[in-house]
Symmetry: C2
Subunit: 223 residues, 2 copies
């Protein structure tokens, strides 16, 4: 975690201090002054590396995303069915994020603001978004039986949207160890696999085209 340059070390120290305090006291109860003091750094210095308190959480979220990408192959190994692979992917996410669930709200509250750079749809988070969709691509590409060509191109992005929806649910989930979210995934992933498997049915072509063009139109308007 210790970077080469002085700046990288300071930055890591701030993230570490913030993560520890967030976990210990929660997001709102942790002040920027406490983070700076705990990191052995001045208040202003914390703002040199992170433009806001929220961006601090983004830094740690990025860390988790990297670890997610690194460990994904190992949890996908040996799994063929799309539902199994999707479930394993999300379970890994839950596992990595579980310690941060108590203060995740403080993060996602601002992520829900479309004007915020933390919004998953914002231009600022485009790299993180692309990386996340890339992970879904890995979930999809080696699935067996293979995903019908009809929906193959759109599927990773659609599954990423599904992921975002699950995250929204997870944030609101107050059941023990977020069991409700796990249940949601365990039940809906097979449904997705079932629907995807039917994508070549002639009867569904109209609906698939409808959905595809709708997505394209909406993305065009969102520009």
């Amino acid at each position: 975690m210790t970077g080469r340059t002085r700046g990288e070390q300071t930055k890591a120290a701030i993230i570490d201090a913030a993560l520890a305090l967030f976990t210990e006291r929660g997001f709102d109860a942790t002040t920027m002054r406490a983070i700076a003091e705990s990191a052995g750094v001045s208040l202003g210095n914390a703002y040199y590396y992170f433009r806001s308190k929220d961006e601090l959480v983004q830094g740690f979220y990025d860390r988790t995303a990297v670890e997610h990408g690194e460990r994904l192959p190992e949890v996908l190994d040996g799994l063929d069915g799309l539902a199994d692979r999707l479930t394993a992917h999300l379970d890994l996410w839950f596992e990595l994020m579980a310690p941060q669930h108590p203060f995740a709200v403080g993060f996602f509250r601002n992520a829900a603001d479309p004007a915020s750079p933390l919004s998953p749809f914002s231009a600022a988070s485009a790299p993180a978004r692309t990386a996340a969709i890339e992970l879904m691509e890995r979930v999809v590409e080696d699935a067996a039986p293979p995903v019908p060509a009809t929906v193959r191109a759109q599927l990773p992005e659609v599954l990423w949207l599904y992921h975002m929806g699950v995250v929204l649910f997870w944030v609101h989930d107050r059941s023990v160890e977020q069991a409700a979210t796990r249940l949601l995934v365990r039940r809906t992933a097979p449904m997705i696999e079932r629907v995807v498997a039917l994508a070549d049915l002639p009867a569904l072509q109209a609906t698939i085209v409808d959905l595809t063009t709708l997505l394209a139109d909406l993305k065009a308007m969102a520009g």
Copy 2:
């Protein structure tokens, strides 16, 4: 808007001032001090009537919900198809909320916090939630052709969830006059009608049961 007692008048003055300033400058750029000054009242007095800045916005939302319920029959009048009725219902919501869209983000940001009483899923907003589902019941009950009995009971609540999803999209929608959200509804409402019409198909029974029990299980865990 002028109430009988002194307190009611002051309260109304504060709401009016806040609404004007929010609309003019947006939520974040409007300070409580500016609201108080504009209402001809001291800062502390604003907090005598509203426990927080957010609670001030909740007032508008409640007002709008009441108006929505009052005007719903008139926009549903003469419409039979479920898609048409659903679209009319949501269009009315858009019409009523349009003036507040610029600062709606400031409101919904906190509504996205499940711990906040403003969250649509919180216990504190249970009355508002029940009222909103009740409106969906009115959308469903007189639809022709009638909704299959298989899904009739669950449909209003499911449509309310759909409504919440649309609201989430609407908040993020930066297209002119939220045209993208209208497009989304115009395209998805017919899909919903189509799926609902197929609810009695034997091939779909398993999936419908799956979804129904999933919803029930999740609600039980959320308890």
